[in-house]
């Protein structure tokens, strides 16, 4: 079994459903930057299946070391500080999966993503999800779930938003939504329509493909 096959099998086992959706949006052989790439599961998948020229940025030491040990090109850093160094148009896609809500300045990060990339792919937990709304309405406590597992006092998620909030920010920045998909709790994808009302209520998380 060669390395690509091994990567394929491990990726197929490990890749999260939102990562699979992101991967499906990416053209083969493109240049990809994965911001907050974790242990490199998506990058490895994209390298094996889409033959991309992939790079990553990851904050955690364990994540970075895991990535480089897998032969991926990843730097230790964070999007708030490090995106500004990259030149304009360096990538075809800049990916931010489940990281936007942890950024100090998500608006600046989005701007930079579409400066250095032709397209940006962003996935995030939808704070407008009905369970979160109901939980807060009746429980009166900050939401804790599979996607948002932290307590209010130790959460890295300082900038949570709903699907409608995100769309409003994209509008404000003059970004075009090329594709948008909401995922319900069981991971079933549904296209986000024009009104956003249903998706914002039923989507536990969302994936957006943005262009300038």
């Amino acid at each position: 079994m060669n390395h690509a096959d091994a990567a394929l099998i491990s990726s197929q086992r490990a890749i999260r459903v939102d990562l699979q959706l992101i991967a499906d949006m990416i053209e083969p052989r493109s240049r990809v930057l994965d911001v907050g790439c974790g242990d490199g599961a998506l990058l490895e998948y994209l390298t094996a299946f889409k033959q991309v020229d992939g790079r990553g940025i990851e904050l955690s030491t364990e994540g970075v070391n895991a990535c480089i040990s897998r032969g991926l090109s990843v730097i230790q850093g964070d999007a708030d500080a490090d995106l500004k160094d990259y030149p304009e148009g360096a990538f075809d896609y800049v990916i931010l999966s489940h990281t936007l809500q942890a950024m100090g300045e998500p608006r600046e990060v989005l701007r930079h993503m579409l400066r250095i990339g032709r397209r940006a792919i962003i996935s995030f937990p939808n704070f407008g999800y009905w369970r979160i709304r109901l939980g807060f309405l009746f429980g009166g406590r900050m939401p804790v779930s599979d996607l948002l597992p932290h307590q209010w006092y130790d959460t890295p998620n300082i900038h949570l938003c709903s699907i409608r909030d995100f769309v409003a920010l994209a509008d404000e920045l003059g970004l075009r939504v090329e594709r948008s998909i909401a995922l319900n709790e069981s991971g079933a994808p549904r296209r986000i329509g024009g009104g956003f009302f249903t998706a914002n209520l039923l989507g536990q998380q969302a994936v957006f493909l943005l262009a300038k």
Partner: protein, 398 residues
């Protein structure tokens, strides 16, 4: 320059020039002299090097290891002078990270060194006397240019990787800047793209210690059959402190006393840390030349890669296709993580293929020479990934 038909053929010949030393020695700059940054030209000069593992048929598996300030070409074998294990013995060898079953490892004694390559202790053919302080002041780039002459001489068109820690890392950065097409992968470890005021200051202390030793004799000690051992030992002691972290020193020695139960109310080596440093100093002078120490520390102080590119570090590597991996260590205060990060930012600015990991270690700058499992995992991973892209065979059992 016409080299021997193959390096393998050269192996069967004894080393020239340095009969006593293992390894190889060639004379370079015969056809065309090497023009140094200071303007002086060096012609027909010896370069000593050592190799481990075989060069493959298409000469694509060569890795150049660049040694640090006080290192030399004996990276993976007992040292011919001290008998101590090579400085990277646990990294180089069959089945190790720098797997000698897969790679051809080359380690060159740097220009200005004192283990067979031309340096101040060698004889200047024009005068028949040791160069001493008449030896031209050299730069990190000069060291790299001399290595490039050797690589060309060996018939190797491009190196699979250039790897080095500390000053070796500076050479790696220069290699990638001067010969981008010859460097497939570059790994500068615990390095910096320039010397800071603090770096220069520590080196100046060392140099002044050497020059304050009456046995230094204005640099002409060889003619007087003297050696400035005391000055060089002090230089080594001061430098050695900068290679360790405060925590490592404290944990290893604390205030423990050496072979006694109470302080002696004198200036003997009461404390273990004193005894340790004195030992470091006294063993160093057996294998290192004082003038070499002056010249090499000077080359490091003059190193300022951005300076050569109008203050824009990124321009050093514009258009590069080399795969980079930078490593720093959390407790390294000599070349701290911030210095590696500056290099990473510059490489990002030219959209280079770069990896960067800061390894958590309390061993200080010297961590790159020590058994740091996390560092070795990243080292191995980067090298394997690069080897795959280069089309080199995979590690056994992987």
């Amino acid at each position: 320059m016409a080299g021997p038909s193959a390096p393998d053929a050269e192996r069967t010949h004894p080393a020239t020039g340095q009969g006593a030393l293992p390894g190889f020695c060639v004379r370079l700059g015969r056809g065309k002299p090497l023009k140094l940054d200071c303007g002086v030209e060096l012609a027909d000069f010896p370069v000593a090097y050592q190799t481990y593992g075989r060069l493959n048929a298409d000469r694509s598996n060569a890795i150049l290891i660049c040694h640090a300030l006080t290192g030399d070409q004996f990276a993976a074998e007992p040292h011919p002078v001290t008998g101590k294990e090579g400085w990277w013995s646990d990294v180089i060898g069959p089945g190790r990270i720098l797997d000698t079953d897969r790679f051809h490892i080359i380690c060159v004694n740097i220009l200005g060194g004192c283990m067979g390559t031309i340096g101040p202790k060698e004889i200047n053919p024009a005068t028949g006397k040791p160069w001493g302080l008449t030896f031209p002041v050299i730069s990190i780039a000069d060291m790299v240019r001399a290595q490039a002459l050797l690589i060309e001489h060996l018939g190797i068109e491009s190196l699979f990787a250039v790897i080095g820690g500390s000053m070796g890392g500076m050479q790696v950065l220069e290699w990638a800047a001067l010969y981008p097409e010859k460097v497939f992968a570059a790994m500068p470890i615990a390095a910096a793209a320039h010397h800071t005021a603090q770096n220069i200051a520590f080196h100046e202390v060392g140099r002044q210690a050497i020059m304050a030793d009456p046995d230094w004799r204005g640099g002409d000690y060889q003619a007087h059959d003297a050696r400035p051992h005391r000055g060089l030992a002090v230089a080594r002691m001061a430098a050695h402190i900068t290679y360790l972290s405060e925590k490592a020193l404290q944990e290893k020695f604390g205030r423990k006393l050496q072979d006694r139960n109470a302080v002696s109310w004198g200036f003997d080596a009461d404390f273990q840390v004193e005894s340790y440093l004195r030992h470091q100093g006294s063993t160093f002078v057996d294998r290192f030349d004082a003038n070499s120490y002056l010249y090499i520390t000077r080359a490091m102080d003059y190193f300022d890669l951005a300076g050569r590119y109008g203050g824009v570090l990124a321009d050093a590597w514009r258009g590069t296709r080399t795969r980079f991996c930078l490593i720093s260590f959390t407790s390294d205060w000599l070349y701290p993580t911030e210095e590696s990060r500056k290099i990473v930012h510059a490489l990002n600015a030219v959209a280079a293929n770069v990896s960067f990991a800061e390894i958590v270690s309390d061993k200080g700058h010297d961590a790159f020479l020590l058994d740091e499992p996390e560092f070795h995992r990243v080292f191995q991973g980067f090298l394997d990934g690069a080897a795959e892209h280069r089309g080199l065979p995979r590690r056994q059992g992987r």
